[in-house]
Symmetry: C2
Subunit: 353 residues, 2 copies
Amino acid sequence: MRHDWLADRWVIIAPQRTQRPSDFVFRPPLALDDQDCPFCFGHEMHTPEAVACYHSKRSSGPSQWKVRVVPNKFPAVNAALRCAGVLAEGAGSVLLDDISSDRGHGHHDNSIDLFRRRELTGGHEVIVESPKHLQSISQLDRETTQLVFMAYRDRLHYWLDERKLAYAVVFKNVGLDAGASLSHTHSQLIATDILPTDIQRSVDRMQHFADKESACLFCRMAEDELEQGVRVVEQTPDFLAFCPFASRLPSMLTIIPKQHQSAFQMLPDSQLEQLSWLTHRLVRRLERCYPETAYNFIIHTAPSCQRHSSSFHWRLELFPRITKVAGFEWGSDCYINPVSPENAASSLRAAGV
Amino acid sequence: MRHDWLADRWVIIAPQRTQRPSDFVFRPPLALDDQDCPFCFGHEMHTPEAVACYHSKRSSGPSQWKVRVVPNKFPAVNAALRCAGVLAEGAGSVLLDDISSDRGHGHHDNSIDLFRRRELTGGHEVIVESPKHLQSISQLDRETTQLVFMAYRDRLHYWLDERKLAYAVVFKNVGLDAGASLSHTHSQLIATDILPTDIQRSVDRMQHFADKESACLFCRMAEDELEQGVRVVEQTPDFLAFCPFASRLPSMLTIIPKQHQSAFQMLPDSQLEQLSWLTHRLVRRLERCYPETAYNFIIHTAPSCQRHSSSFHWRLELFPRITKVAGFEWGSDCYINPVSPENAASSLRAAGV
């Protein structure tokens, strides 16, 4: 077992589990053709109006978009904090279900409320990453990849710094097994007015580390990982990519800036270019190791409302979805990972890109 | 959003998300034929020796087993606490990987250790639920279903009360999407010498509720759910099955005893019979709503080592795996559930069994 200090959670590393026999034959989901894809060039009328568009330096004009940000047509988050031009008509009122309040039935008025509800407000956007019907960020060219990361930066800046939402996260689902419903390459941003409990815990843990050690948790981790070397997959002048010591899933990767940075959205262009290309390379490495794999990535940046946000070190987490979460994991939140992070890192380093 | 008081976690209920279009066509995994199935009658030599066998009252003799418990051949848990006859030879030493300790490299000897490891000891067993190559507990007859639950009770008793392990959990994975590697109907038991962090938290929360309210959390919940009625799916004289108010996944079900009980393994035969048949009926309801669905269930019983274990109320959680965990959920531990528990309960009640 290995301890994930940030999450305060033990993970079971059990390489012998990969030898289990299976009598299931996995069949990858079929992707339909792109005729009805709402994200393809020419189908812009099937999404809400764009809140941002990014163009190639080599072309111009609104019809030549490379990356396009639109409000999610089926948002998970109520857009009650409306702002002219930002959220499409009808995107709101998604959490107003028709059940009357469960409180006030009587007996326990001063007691702990087991039926608390609240509206969640914020935003839910889709970053469409190509006018063409591509499936993975690894199929984008270098310039478009950079435009995608520019969109991440701009939209995080908008929701956290301008709109002052408590929390915002950028995430990417590629493939049905990673939770995608559309195959056209895209990412999403969800911004909310409250901090999820788990994020609050990780903010508190980072601050606790800083108080006790007079150092940042991830700055220390970068130092240790570079010294040990066995889990490092790739680095650039400013970034380090490694397989975390207590990875919950096989071949999980974390990318962090080597120098302390709290807010992803403060990245200068030169670093954004480095980071976007490093991510592209790492996805290609994953796809070499696990062809056509479903995968996710998530950008964790400092929540805006926190007193302690300067102790936060932003990170990007990238992981293929090659195992299923089973009953034990659901029941205990204790994960069994059949691939040691050292072996995963070694395979990923060896995968030529 | 709804608050899960036990987990102290908010869940997003977003029914409009079910209207999302998808261009993926899910293809259920193929199950190979049963020729090589290690769990079928006659193939007993392909598993470690049984630690328990259960027979029909109407037959006798060792060849007539209905339910069979064997040590897992590919255990996730190190069997260092060996006990004659219980753990197969060679089942041990699964966590001894070949990396030397990461400590002692030097610079941070008195600091927080980011690379903590430990051996995990305990047991990992498989409960084979039929001599025939069936796929779901819903295909078992009433007597065999009861024998399965009897095996759960006996093995939990063994690991928690005789062997005094800190934690033991029974769980069932049906289908590839629920984490199963073999299709022959079976459950598993994992017992460990430490309590997973998340379980410790839920034990503490239950105790906190008891301290503050002078009542048990789940006894209170049973009372409230029966009063409100909208989330109740089915009940027997002693048990209540409902869709929890803040369900993380669609059509999650919880079964609890109406009277306070901490330890599942203390159930008398008459209640075990009720519970096993109620579970069987609920699985059939799920399978009516979602044909051939993958599903899990998990039995949470009081950990043995806890001072507060009498405030623990055991429960069985049952849920189909019809949605995928996406990047947002992985990143925030905040779940988006597209089916309100009230609608789920209504559909499950309507599904004739």
